[in-house]
Symmetry: C2
Subunit: 125 residues, 2 copies
Amino acid sequence: MAESASKHDVFQAIADPTRRRLLRLLGDQEMSVTIISGHFTMSRTAVSKHLRVLADAGLVKDQKVGRETRYRLDPEPLLELKKWLSNYERFWENKLSVLKRYVESDDPAVMESFLPLRTYKENEK
Amino acid sequence: MAESASKHDVFQAIADPTRRRLLRLLGDQEMSVTIISGHFTMSRTAVSKHLRVLADAGLVKDQKVGRETRYRLDPEPLLELKKWLSNYERFWENKLSVLKRYVESDDPAVMESFLPLRTYKENEK
DNA sequence: TTGACATGAAACCAAATGGTATCGTAATTA
DNA sequence: TAATTACGATACCATTTGGTTTCATGTCAA
């Protein structure tokens, strides 16, 4: 799988659904490899490799505790993703396309996050 | 390459650096395949396949004009990415990690986009 | 209408990816 | 001390991915 050769980037790391599940799982609490693997049907080794990819991208940190290795989320590299996305903010600011997709979203926070950045500037006045 | 079998998702589509370059390029204006390829060193066919992946993810739209095919950006699917990212907002709200990476960013809009969502709720009071 | 242009489709290839099973080793516990 | 647990390392495998070259087809222009 991902042979930690030369640093995976965050874009590649989150491309895999299993790794996105891992990030979500570790968002709740720090967990050992065995416990983590218990949440997946694939082998422990496979999960471990995915964790390695995430670690390469800096999205998780590991800590040895006795014979187990605890992994925890480090969301910091996601800021790069957020930065990249910000280049496209201008395309959906004040656009109906924002409503088009999430008008019936069950998560109110989602709509809030779509409010245009311009709001901040208005507040600063 | 990407054999358009069963719909590529946006996470996979943006994982490749070439495809991110394509999105950036098409953000400025609609362009034909040949013109697009002129911006890359790889073959036209290779570029065309990347465009196919992006089209599968809904990130670009194509339109036949005579003998050429014009591609243009459709940023709408990026909202899914934005939605996914919003699940991690809570981790860097009011955190120094926000400053840690971009304190010397040359783009002021970047820092603005990092202001916490909570600001909105306070405004509602 | 004849040739040049724009593009997609195929066939092919090397390398990366996602997965498995097996083994070695350090830490824990009986 | 001996068995068990937790994990990484390795070797291996099938499929996907990113790229190439070649060919077929539709469109435009002389």
